[in-house]
Symmetry: C2
Subunit: 398 residues, 2 copies
């Protein structure tokens, strides 16, 4: 039987200090705890207690983290980057199982307990990425939950056979149907979206579409996604990742679009990119749209940035959106916690009695101070078991 | 007499490992060093050696670092923020000497050896800020060089008496004449710039003007600054900070402006802000314009961000400007090192024989890897003396 754990002197969401009793992987009590025989007591030192951070958009299969430095000299355009990556993987010896495990260690060390990862599916590498991340998902099931999006990174229709591979990926273990720039990648928005929604219907799985298409073009594609979400009765089951078009400078058009996204329960994932127009965070949240965030690619063939720290991501969201007020910055924290949990459909996410004991402690005077300071996390817990301390995972990877 | 120091096994700018011999605060030799009696030997452990990082734009007098958390609920507009700050300083007990020292400790811990700080001069607080930062400059002269810009944060002409205070600040110890949004703050660009350039001429000092004015307005003001720089023969002695207008979406107009900035030797300071249009980094450098960078305000009445790490700033410059290639990211490193050194007019800046021994060691496989990883700096040296180790300063502040 699982041992009872008492997490003493912690501040849920930065509020007053209290104790949290954990039994069988869930929060059993919140309040002053008396010493219990047989219980393991952990001193929280007055740290802030949050539910585990949610990494809602990354690419576990592609990180080069821990491999010899990859000198990047690729031109800065999407297709050049996609082509370079597809052609480089074998040459540089990118092993999706080994690499995804390395990123998991990095993520968990920073307090992430749930990850949604897009994983490349293409006719050159087949399902190698999916099988690799599935192996990691199984091997590290005790430290993190991983959701796999079958992702047609090199296009769905322009490379024959991809559709069939996507279908197979969803049969063998992928959880979500991915898509990519229906207009600018496949040059056939109707064809692309018909395949995506048909796969979702066939497998009964949700959708998460990468949409980099800017301005009016992205707005057009978003309208097509909204229309199909309604037609397929998939409210609450569709996410648009990036949605750069929501940063388009047309206040009224964006207002109408946000209204429809809220109505159809389509969620938005934004990384808060500094170099692209992107969804205005507070406006999007105020419109009633669920927003989550993620690291996107971490030190991969695309670029060298990223460290899998979702608190740093909250800082990026804040800096991108001119959020200086404490209450605004807490909205960014909401995005990397409850926003992600909503998109991933997590049950029992939070720090209340009955919630899953997926938890992270964060040092700081106030929650905002803790976020902007991004100190190493004193403790991370998955289903009541300590999985990281002082910023470092308590498990090893290859 | 100063002791000889041998810094063994370091990689200048990430190149091959070598040794560096330091005598009398300067680099005396670069190359394999034999053991010397009387010499102190420091093992560099193969770390990358850079000249000390240059913080070319910050506000030492205003940081709240180390004070109780200041909950921010100020509306997001420039005048509201300026007014709130001016009215808050006394209430919250902001002591410019104490606070600037705290930020110095933070900066030096991250490897900064030179700082240009704008310091508020206004009719409410007079020269309190300038005297405070001057006290810090004197007290910490052995660990960092500080240049003070007399900065009319609340306007030059709209608050009578400011001009005289600026004059006094430059007489008692400020090194640079500051300015602020000649159109949008003072509503009198000619009047504002006439005062700035007259003060520079009277005191024989350089100029650094905050210019947040966007688009066409900022382009207009930039033209006025270019014209006066020519008329006053101040080539190489004028900096425009922020210059958001260079991010204006008019390719040809910006090209013409960059050409004139290069011709008149006007430097640009950009923080790489994620939430404003800003100078395109590579294009500006390629035009032959000197570019430096800085943290701007760190955890102050304006906002909570910032940690004084100029390597993190290089990452922000990279992310803002879509720099993924190694050679592009090294341009951002150039900005936080030699670019800043050029703007501050530093003599003997570098890691060659004869250069000042203002140095920082950085852990990393390659220089790019070191920058994106931003690990704690193993060692920081000022004029040949070790001033910080493992990310922490070796001196204390109040």
């Amino acid at each position: 039987m699982d041992q009872t754990v008492i997490l003493k002197n912690v501040r849920p969401w930065g509020e007053s200090a209290t104790d949290v009793v954990i039994r069988e992987g869930r929060i059993a009590e919140v309040g002053p705890a008396t010493a219990m025989v047989e219980a393991q007591s952990i001193d929280g030192g007055g740290a802030i207690l949050l539910p585990g951070l949610v990494e809602a958009h990354t690419h576990l299969d592609k990180t080069l983290y821990g491999m010899p430095w990859n000198r990047n000299s690729v031109p800065s355009n999407l297709v050049a980057k996609i082509t370079n990556e597809r052609n480089s993987k074998k040459r540089i010896g990118l092993d999706p199982a080994r690499q995804s495990a390395r990123q998991v260690a990095l993520s968990v060390g920073h307090g992430t307990t749930h990850i949604r990862s897009h994983v490349d599916v293409d006719t050159e590498h087949g399902l190698a990425g999916v099988h690799g991340v599935m192996a990691t998902r199984e091997k590290y099931a005790d430290v993190v939950d991983i959701e796999i999006v079958a992702f047609p990174q090199s296009g769905m229709l322009i490379r024959q056979g991809t559709k069939e591979l996507m279908d197979e990926a969803l049969s063998v273990g992928a959880d979500v149907v991915g898509g990519l720039d229906p207009c600018s990648m496949d040059l056939d928005p109707k064809g692309h979206l018909d395949v995506v929604f048909a796969l979702a219907e066939k497998h009964g799985k949700p959708i998460d579409i990468h949409l980099h298409e800017p301005g009016e073009l992205g707005i057009f594609t978003t309208r097509l996604i909204i229309e199909r979400t309604r037609a397929h009765a998939m409210a609450g089951k569709v996410t648009i990742s990036h949605a750069f078009c929501l940063g388009h400078n047309d206040y009224l058009a964006i207002g109408r679009l946000l209204e429809q996204l809220a109505e159809t329960g389509i969620a938005i994932m934004t990384t808060g990119p500094a170099d692209y127009a992107c969804p205005p965070l507070i406006r999007t949240l105020d419109a009633g749209v669920t927003v989550c965030s993620g690291s996107d690619g971490i030190r991969d063939c695309w670029g060298p940035y990223g460290n899998a720290d979702m608190l740093e991501r909250a800082v990026f969201l804040g800096m991108r959106n001119d959020l200086d007020r404490d209450d605004d910055i807490l909205r960014a924290v909401e995005v990397v916690t409850t926003g992600g949990a909503t998109v991933l459909g997590l049950e029992g996410y939070g720090v209340k009695v009955g919630d899953m004991a997926d938890l992270v402690l964060i040092d700081g005077e106030t929650l905002t101070e803790a976020v902007v300071s991004r100190r190493p996390r004193p403790l991370v817990m998955k289903r009541g078991k300590v999985v990281a301390r002082d910023g470092a995972p308590l498990f090893t990877t290859e």
